[in-house]
Amino acid sequence: MQPDTDPPIAEFRATTKMFGEVGAARDLNLSIRKGEFLSFLGPSGCGKTTALRMLAGFEAPTSGDVLIDGERVNDLPAHRRPVNMVFQHYALFPHLDVTDNISYGLRQRRPRPAAAEVAQAVEQALETVRLPGYGRRRIWEMSGGQQQRVALARAIINQPKILLLDEPMAALDRKLRRDMQIELQSLQRSLGITFILVTHDQEEALSMSDRICIMRAGRIVQIGSPRELYDRPNSRYVADFVGKSNFFAGTVSRVEATGTALAVAGGLRIIGTAAPGLAPGQTASASLRPEQISLAHGTTTADGTTCVPVRVVNRIFLGEHTEYLVQHDDLGAFLVLVPRQAEASEGSFEPGEPAFAIWRDGTALILPEDA
């Protein structure tokens, strides 16, 4: 990935797309860095595909600009743009075999490249997506996973400046999807092409991307690396979307450099780091990740910790961790993730048993309520 200072490979500048009254994308502002793996993440209908289609040239922005490689491309038709797309359902040409599908892009070039050159490029592309020898197969003779590789080969053979992927793995089963994710990621590294992936699978976005752009109702809510989004979400929406989290609603009672206190139900106070702009008296939510909370059989009075009595409701074994659902009289139900060794030293907790939930003060995030 290039450093921040280099010119971006693509940009949205105050880009808005309206479909009649529906604002599919609103006031998008985003710089895409050369060579990065960027994901658009968000629930269904939030405008991810629309954003991608504006880059591909299938939709023109209603207002604002789309730039590719420094050039304003609002009115550049799709066939003249240096980007390629892997479609959600692949959109492979049913009347052409695998080779002719893959070579389609090269064959559109004028002047036409030599046949031998095209054939060699196809061979190499098939090699890259690990389908050597499948060239003369018909599309409907290929499995879903193989078709997806053909779609990938058909796009990367053109060496686009940006590869756009619209939920390319949505139709694959879980295991195959995992394999393809790893392959895509290593392919992106070796090709050095900028990848923009649209997905509503947070795990997929977290595991593959250099940066994630979280969208909600046509707007970008937060952009950052997976770690930034996980550790410092700027809203309850993001914290909820990226990983699991417990939320406790309350009122901001004190804002200090050392920590912000949120008064929650039952006279409890949760101390945490506040998002900028929070003032005392405002309503907000404290976000505590399940792994930030621990469980104990006995209470503790250690400094800088909060300990509340709970009752164990449910237990889910996850291998390295065990996830407990616990109930507190005032805070309600929340999740606690207990690592295996902690369980080994503390003993396990049976549903119905009383226990104590403990977290270190300051670890919570105090987030404004979503608008």
């Binding site: 591909a56 040239g57 299938f58 038709p77 799709a78 066939h79 003249r80 980007v83 390629n84 797309m85 479609f87 359902h89 959109a91 492979l92 040409f93 049913p94 009347h95 389609y104 892009g105 559109q108 070039r109 018909r138 409907w140 058909r154 053109n158």
Partner: protein, 283 residues
């Protein structure tokens, strides 16, 4: 065993229909074609090849049929394709239904009446009068091959439009986006994606129109005025006027053979285009 018996039982009605409606008449015609004309017309049993040796006497009818059927099919295709394309791809939802209905409306009246209407349009008082009034010289349209061709295109256009319309309508629009995405301008996407993928519709339409045209007799009778006649007209004449059933049968057998040969060749050709794909097969 059980299952096989049951299958046979289910196939019985279809089989009976096939035998009585298709095979039996053909056998009768075949037998008749080797017979002789009866004293008072009709058929009298015999086994001679005279009827087949006499076929050249109807050469003009075969010639007309074998030129105007393919030319008519081609003319229908050339007019129907753009029309179907417009309906399926360009027309807005609102207009599409209305226009489709307009394509069918002529079917609501008999082809006989509609063809008579063309007599007026192409006859002395119609277009030729208009042209000579404009001082562009005298032309004759009615009772010419052109008149028959016009009638054919007019009558058979809907049969060509619908299969093509269906195949264009079914075309996945995302394939055109993929084509554009891969650098193909719209007109080349049409040639490389739309056209090949609409070939099943084209093949079906051509087949339908061609087969029906080979047996056509109404349009040539009305608009050809006895000057441009088809094999169908020859059959009408032989069976109803001169009552030579034996010779008529030989002509009919010849027509069936010609049709079988051309249709088989045509199917071979189109299935080669389709690359043996199931969903690209004819109907």
């Amino acid at each position: 065993m059980q299952a096989r018996h049951r299958t046979a039982l289910f196939l019985l009605p279809a089989g009976a229909w096939f035998v009585t409606m298709l095979v039996l008449p053909l056998v009768v015609v075949l037998v008749f074609s080797f017979g002789e004309r009866g004293e008072a017309g009709g058929y009298s049993p015999a086994f001679v090849l005279d009827n087949y040796f006499n076929l050249p006497a109807r050469w003009t009818a075969f010639q007309n049929t074998l030129t105007l059927a393919p030319v008519g099919t081609l003319a229908c295709l050339l007019i129907a394709y753009p029309l179907a394309y417009f309906l399926a791809v360009r027309a807005s939802e609102k207009w599409r239904t209305l226009l489709l209905v307009l394509v069918i409306v002529p079917f609501w009246t008999s082809i006989l009446i509609r063809s008579y209407a063309w007599i007026f349009i192409l006859g002395g008082q119609g277009i030729p009068a208009l042209i000579s009034a404009m001082g562009l010289g005298d032309i004759k349209l009615i009772n010419t091959p052109f008149a028959v061709l016009t009638g054919i295109v007019y009558g058979y256009l809907p049969l060509m439009v619908f299969p093509i319309y269906v195949s264009l309508e079914r075309l996945d629009k995302r394939l055109l986006e993929a084509s554009a995405d891969l650098g193909s301008p719209p007109w080349r996407s049409f040639l490389q994606v739309t056209l090949p993928l609409s070939m099943p519709g084209v093949a079906t339409g051509c087949m339908l129109v061609f087969i029906l045209l080979m047996g056509e007799f109404l349009i040539p009778a009305i608009l050809g005025g006895g000057k441009v006649f088809f094999v169908g007209n020859a059959l009408v004449d032989l069976f109803l006027q001169s009552r030579n059933w034996a010779f008529g049968s030989a002509v009919a057998v010849a027509l069936v053979v010609i049709m079988l040969v051309t249709v088989t060749a045509y199917m071979r050709l189109t299935s080669r285009w389709a690359g043996g794909r199931d969903d690209l097969s004819l109907m």
